[in-house]
Symmetry: C2
Subunit: 150 residues, 2 copies
C-alpha cells in the first residue's frame, strides 16, 4: 500500500484484508458521511475539513476498491455524486462498531454526542456479538482458527 | 493528530473520536494481534512485518490512549508485555465487524480464511446490528441525530 508499508491483501486474515481496503481514518469518515447522506465532493470536503487533493485521492481509492461509485446527481443537475455500492453499504456494521465503542469510552458522562437511531422507533441502534444461539460472546470466549489448523 | 491532519477529538460524533484513537491500519492490526494472544514486541514485529520504529510509535500511542498497557511478562521473566486494558478489550466488536465484512466481501468463494470461533461451541462468532427489540437494522433503517437536534 505505497508509503504505508506492507500490503495485507493476500492475507488469510479477513481483518487484515479489510484494513487494507478501509483502515484509514479518512476512508472510514468518508464512508460514515456517505452513509449519512453526504454525496457531493464539496459537501464532503466541508464536513471533513480535508484538503481537496487528499479527499480526491481517498475517494478515488474507495471507487477503485468498489466501496463507492460515481452516479448522476439525484437532483438531475450535471453534477456527479458519490454513492455507496452494495458492499460499501455493508460497512454500516463497521461504522456502528466504531460509534458504539466511542460512545461508551470517549465521552464524559455529561457530554453529549450524536446518536444513531432506528427511523421507525427512534431508539438507538444496538450492536451484538453472539454465538450461533444468540448468546453474547466477548473476546475471552473466542479464538481465531488459522487456515493451517482448518 | 500530527501529520495526519485535523483532529476529531472534540467532535460530537463518536465515530470521529474513535477513528482518531484507533483509525489507522497498524493500530487496528496491533489490537487484533493482542486480542489473539500476541503480547511481546518481538512477536508483534514478526507477525506484522512492521519496522521497529513504526511499531514502537504505534504501541506508545495505544498506551497513551489507554488501549494497551505494559505488564510484567506472564512467564515471570524480566520482560514486559503489552496487554489490552478493559476499554481496549472492548475493541473486540470493532475487530469482529472488520473481520465479518472482509470474510463476506474480500474472499473468493473457494478461498480459505481464518475463522473467529466461540471456544465452547467451535462455531463462528456472529455480529448483529439490531433495534431495541432485537430485529435486524440496516443502513437504510437508521439515521444520525445530531446533538443540535437533540
Amino acid at each position: 500500500m505505497g508509503t504505508r508499508g506492507v500490503s495485507h491483501r493476500d492475507a488469510e486474515c479477513p481483518v487484515a484484508r479489510t484494513v487494507d481496503v478501509i483502515g484509514d481514518r479518512w476512508s472510514l469518515l468518508i464512508v460514515r458521511d456517505v452513509l449519512d447522506g453526504i454525496h457531493r465532493f464539496s459537501e464532503l470536503q466541508r464536513n471533513l475539513g480535508l484538503a481537496k487533493n487528499i479527499l480526491a485521492t481517498r475517494l478515488r481509492e474507495l471507487v477503485n476498491q468498489g466501496i463507492l461509485e460515481l452516479v448522476p446527481a439525484a437532483d438531475g443537475s450535471a453534477y456527479q455524486e458519490y454513492a455507496l455500492t452494495g458492499r460499501g453499504r455493508e460497512l454500516f456494521t463497521v461504522i456502528v462498531a466504531l460509534r458504539k465503542w466511542g460512545e461508551h469510552h470517549l465521552f464524559a458522562e455529561d457530554e453529549r454526542h450524536s446518536d444513531l437511531l432506528e427511523i421507525t422507533s427512534r431508539q438507538p441502534v444496538e450492536l451484538h456479538v453472539t454465538n450461533a444461539a444468540g448468546q453474547p460472546v466477548t473476546a475471552e470466549d473466542a479464538f481465531v482458527r488459522k487456515v493451517s489448523e482448518g
